[in-house]
Amino acid sequence: MLEDAFERARGEKRMAFIPYVMAGDPDLETTEAILLALSDAGADVIELGVPYSDPLADGPTIAAAGQRALRSATHLREVLALASRCRERCPPIVLFTYYNPVYQFGVERFAREAAAAGVAGAIVPDVALDESAELRAALQAQGLTMPLLVAPSTPHPRAARIVDAATGFVYVVSRLGVTGTGNAPDFAPLRRQLASLRELTDKPLAVGFGLSSPQDVRNLGMLADGVVVGSALIDAYAGARAQEAATRVRQFVAPLIAACFLVSP
């Protein structure tokens, strides 16, 4: 599923657009409307956040979105049900979840039910390569992917092992720190890292963390296969619900998606 999405974007000479949405923020009905809006707008893959009380890799925007989602009693089970409801009308969904909710749910059961819900894979930011074997095997057994993250601080030999183990795509963290719009990445070292990763693998490279504007997207140039935008998108619809939120999302992503075209369409 994921491979096809990146393949299609590549065929159209553009980067895949991968929006991140926190499920249940502020309620599941709103998230569903946003997912459909993103699908209509042309998102290639959707990262669907699973709310967690202690999101170590996230900055204030996504952490606050998670708190709002927890107040609407959205947990892994509800997120899987949402994914299942939207599966026919959406591009491939990859869950973005911390490990503890998965661990409590049961790793095998998570993989099974995620597959049954039509999910394409799971990104688990606090499970780096070293702790990933069990989860990767469980997901793989169900035909699901597990993209792994590469950070600016990742030494090259380790990056080689990560891209080797990652499935679906490689999630390239654009800068040190956590998710959020506060400081944009430094694009020169990021481009160097993308070029060095490109030499290691043909797997799609998707860049995330700190990307918020069409200019950020254009700054990635030809070097990435996909671009993830999360916090800026959440800021764009924060405070709105249902169709109002969907409208704001449509307006916000249109220029980002346009910027994904390496040559004007």
Binding site: D126, L129, L149, S153, V173
Partner: protein, 388 residues
Amino acid sequence: MSAPDTRGYFGDFGGRYVPEVLIAALDELERAMMAAFADPAFWAEYHEVLRDFVGRPSPIYRCERYAADVSSVPLVMKREDTNHTGAHKINNTVGQALLARRMGKRRLLAETGAGQHGVATATVGAKLGLPVDVYMGVRDIERQALNVDVMRLLGAQVHAVASGTQTLKDATNEAFRVWAQRVEDTFYVIGSVVGAHPYPFMVREFQKVIGIEARRQTLERYGRLPSDVIACVGGGSNAMGIFSGFVDDRDVKFWGVEAGGKGVDGDEHAASLRAGSIGVLHGSRSYLLQSAEGQVRETHSISAGLDYPGVGPEHAFFKESGRATYVDITDAQAVEAFHAFARCEGILPALESAHAIGFARELAAQRGADDLILVNLSGRGDKDIGRC
């Protein structure tokens, strides 16, 4: 030295559940730590600072009156309250700050709950000339105002954390996030035997001085080992510090005392080992207080230093293996022990330590003159005046 395995596991507990951005820093830390641990000059400087700056060895003291009405058992306190800054925390911050300097790091970063670890980090930062940033929950800043003033006097920047429960859990989240951003020049000084490998092991090794001294002192003074060693457990560093000095003495029983809050049958407590379940928090697999969905729960303890939903992975291992037994003492019992101990012995214990002292009286009633109970009096209670 009982070390975790190469992946940082004590049995099934520990590991390294952190974002990729931190993995290289943890690898760098582990390499530097192992090199320092193998270097006699590093330990020589550590012990010199502990002697001249902290005031070690801390004494042991036999209580005359506190439990004399219920038992003839010798009840002996390891006086970590006599350390500079008033608690065991500084043993660890001295070790980590010396390591930070050895690694060429330029700043120290710390989380704090009760403020004791923040003060201990600010203290060594001032001594070594390293700037210190401390992250502390808004609620803890309110209930431990004195320690906030002390940290600021020592030149540290105290940052209020307003997210989540506004206590130690969220201060720790924030410290991890800040570390992820400044990982190249900043050393994260974790305050307990928690976090991702190698922290639980490293902090234990820096706190082990408590147990090593206490073992030698008990043998010298009483010609025998204790029958029981008692310590309070939040994250568990003072407990692991004293336990680890006796870990090969299989007849010495270990008792970890958790915060029972308003009772472990309800939701308002912080007894992760007594009433929690296995999960992953702040980088390691251990016991924690959480919902069925895996959301980390809000905790309660009258003692800010024990008000934490997780616990060090080696404690989880000790619980599973039976090496230690974990019990709880409620807020009310701790306050009663605080007052009784102050009046009987002339020592104000920290509310954290009052949990251990409260349980010591219960255990004393089951012990006799041939036994010997050793309690880690982990800190002094000045910070708690007016709170109980």
